[in-house]
């Protein structure tokens, strides 16, 4: 074991060749993290240069004949189609409703596009559509147009949905990622990482003592309750793909502000933390549905938090941090043992560690 001659520091420790470009699209390009952002910034934004897309909000804000509209679209490719706490149909309605609500809009009309794989059980399709129906009723939106395509067996994965939606934005409201301001207080509407872990535990066949159910829900009525306080809300975002960490980074970069988060204040259910420990995942990067982050003026934080807590979807809302003047563009996490570190955007897909 003691062969010094074979271990020569001066001989130069070398390293691999760079992988500078991606000749193929990788899953990570759709994970909501850095590679997704590279696609948006290097391909989509330059291709479609306009002032509506440029802010990279959850939806576009357009004004037509003096009427302010929010317009948003999203697609859903979730596996499994049915999961604890919901299914792809409910997700597709809630997702677009929430994207509109994050613009401060009152969602009104949705479209629904379906790409169905040949052989998909009709019974399951009926179940998905029924689920969309009840989600639309719950969110007070109407599905007013749609499209159906069927692809050869093996050319799709059961069913893909795409929904777009429009909603009305009240006058005087200006909610946008760019509006985050030093001094703002950051509120999360409830426990995080629940949806992602619910999906992953089904996919990986993991069983826990209590089943973790997805938290998918329409957030428009929660947003209405927050707006009704008349408190100043600068930013609303639902931290879906990429999780809380990625969304906070997007906001920090978009508004060119620093963000400081206290790890111990972030509500994470014990069973979710346990699953994350087992799977080697960081809950801050795990997807959420039915949760929002709000950046609100400090003076109004208490009354907005109170209004959230009184709403069924905000009972466990909590203040998790603040916007600061320092370290613009960066999110800093105060760790549970009192240290501090950067909370970065997700790079690639979150992959479980070896040991």
């Amino acid at each position: 074991m003691n062969n010094r001659s074979d271990f020569d520091v001066a001989a130069g420790f070398t390293c691999p060749v760079p992988l500078q470009h991606y000749p193929n699209v990788l899953l990570a390009h759709g994970s909501g993290g850095r590679l997704t952002h590279q696609l948006i910034e290097q391909l989509f934004l330059p291709s479609f240069p306009n002032e509506h897309l440029a802010p990279l909000h959850d939806g576009a804000l357009v004004t037509m004949n003096g009427v302010r509209l929010a317009f948003s679209t999203d697609s859903y490719v979730i596996n499994p189609v049915f999961f604890p706490g919901g299914d792809i149909g409910e997700l597709a309605v809630n997702g677009t409703v929430n994207d509109l609500a994050m613009c401060g809009a009152r969602p009104l009309f949705l479209s629904a596009g379906m790409i169905i794989e040949e052989g998909f059980p009709m019974e399951d399709l009926v179940r998905v559509v029924r689920s969309m129906q009840s989600a639309a009723l719950r969110a007070h939106v109407q599905i007013v147009t749609g499209d159906t395509k069927v692809v050869d067996r093996g050319k799709g994965d059961k069913i893909f949905l795409a929904t777009s939606g429009i909603g009305l934005v009240p006058d005087g409201l200006n909610i946008s990622p760019k509006a985050a301001t030093p001094g703002d207080v950051i509120i999360v509407s409830g426990p995080i990482a629940v949806h992602g872990i619910a999906i992953m535990s089904v996919r990986e066949g993991l069983e826990f003592e209590t089943q973790i159910e997805s938290d998918t829900a329409p957030l428009n009525s929660l947003v209405e309750a927050m707006l009704a306080t008349q408190g100043t809300i600068h930013v609303l975002r639902d931290p879906t793909r990429g999780g809380v960490a990625s969304v906070l980074n997007e906001i920090a970069q978009s508004a060119k502000v620093g963000i400081s988060i206290a790890e111990e204040r972030i509500p994470i259910p014990d069973e979710v933390r346990g699953a994350c420990e087992i799977l080697g995942l960081d809950p801050l990067y795990v997807a959420n549905e039915g949760k929002l982050l709000a950046f609100v003026a400090r003076a109004d934080a208490d009354k907005i938090l109170q209004a959230m807590k009184e709403h069924p979807l905000g009972g466990q809302a909590a203040i998790i941090g603040e916007v600061v003047d320092e370290h613009a563009g960066t999110v800093v996490l105060k760790t549970s043992i009192g240290g501090s570190r950067i909370l970065d955007m997700l790079s690639g897909e979150q992959l479980p560690r070896i040991c």
Partner: protein, 370 residues
């Protein structure tokens, strides 16, 4: 969460930090061996809490980082075959080979699957008798027993379509290589608790004695790291040289004898090439001859000739040696990022460079200088 939160307690952490500050009178350099420990240190911001005199350097204990480039290329060559289902732990999938990584193989049609256990790969082999299922068996003594068990199980089941691509490495020879290097500056080690849970710690006694370094078997939670640091610094300050066991809730002196026996049944000690470091004699495992039917390098013998020269662009070897910190590399965060890693330590979250990139570029980099 029981048995986790106790080891992340803020008040106890503060007491350890105070104790460490009290016993520290001069500069000391400690190395944590394991990538899991590096991850904890940066994730919890532990360096920002320690006295300035204590310099933690990050050791070579990241299996993803030290798996040689040629082995990654072999994995990619095997995974690209139509008749193969290639299985691996998650973070090996993104490690760059000389041209591409396993995720790219998957994107261009290869059947590459992430598994949580090599035994899942054995199950896949049972379910797909028409395919040849290969598991990428990397890691230290920690993952070796499960990988040995997978081979043993496949052998018992009479499977003809399961094999492992074996690239196992061992900790003590790496510690010896670091200590015998003339450039060494490490004065004490936090040994990897999980490795010792398998191997015990008797094999560290001669190393501590020969090179006059304290070795503290240390766990992976923040309080474990702080406690291990405290024990190592106290030894150094008191002039003692011992092997201490901080991780006594998991580690016995003799280790897990059943696991060791299984490993010895399937594997034998061999020389290994460490990425960024070079050849270290007797520093790894290979599959024993009697189990060669489960050795992917023997089955796919056309990959045996794959040899690649690593490019001299980054200083990964110096980082893995603890001679340089990641941010002291010119490429760090500029031409080398987690999306475009020049070196393996930028790939895995356990890798020192990736950990630095994710958690402490700025504004907390001010006190990482050696």
């Amino acid at each position: 969460m029981r048995f986790i939160d106790e080891y992340r307690d803020k008040a106890l952490a503060r007491r350890y930090i105070e104790q460490i500050a009290q016993v520290t009178t001069r500069k000391w350099t400690l190395m944590e061996i394991c990538g899991g420990q590096t991850h904890t240190i940066v994730k919890y911001g532990i360096e920002s809490l320690l006295p300035r005199e204590i310099n933690l350097v990050h050791g070579p204990g990241c299996p993803v980082c030290v798996t040689p480039l040629a082995m990654i290329d072999k994995a990619i060559a095997i995974a690209s075959r139509d008749d193969v289902i290639f299985t691996s732990f998650g973070d090996m999938l993104r490690v760059p080979g000389s041209k591409r990584d396993l995720l790219s193989v998957k994107a261009s049609g290869g059947d590459v699957r992430m598994v949580y256990s090599p035994l899942d790969a054995v199950k896949i082999a049972q379910q797909h008798p028409e395919k040849r299922v290969v598991f990428f068996a990397v890691g230290f003594e920690t993952t070796a027993p499960a990988n040995a068990l997978a081979v043993w199980q496949a052998h018992q089941l009479g499977l003809r379509n399961f094999s492992i691509l074996c690239s196992h490495v061992l900790v003590p020879p790496a510690i010896e290589a670091i200590l015998s290097s003339p450039a060494n500056r490490v004065q004490g080690f936090l040994a990897a608790g999980h490795v010792c849970a398998v191997m015990g710690y008797e094999e560290y006694l001669p190393l501590a004695e020969k090179y006059h370094v304290p070795i503290v078997v240390t766990g992976f939670e923040p309080l474990d790291i702080l406690h291990g640091t405290y024990l190592a610094i106290r030894q150094l300050e008191e002039g003692r040289i011992e092997v201490e066991n901080q991780y006594s809730r998991a580690v016995r002196r003799e280790g897990n004898v059943a696991a060791q026996n299984l490993m010895r049944k399937v594997f034998e000690v061999s020389d290994r090439h460490w990425r960024g470091i070079g050849n270290i004699p007797g520093s790894g495992f290979r599959v024993r001859e009697e189990f060669s039917a489960f050795d992917a390098e023997k089955i796919f013998n056309d990959v045996a000739t794959i040899e690649v020269q690593e490019s001299p662009e980054c200083i990964a070897g110096l980082v893995l040696q603890g001679i340089n910190k990641p941010h002291e590399c010119g490429a760090f965060g500029t031409t080398c990022t987690p999306e475009h890693p020049l070196g393996a330590p930028m790939v895995s979250t356990e890798g020192a460079c990736a950990a630095y990139f994710r958690y402490k570029r700025e504004p907390t980099t001010e006190r990482v200088n050696v």
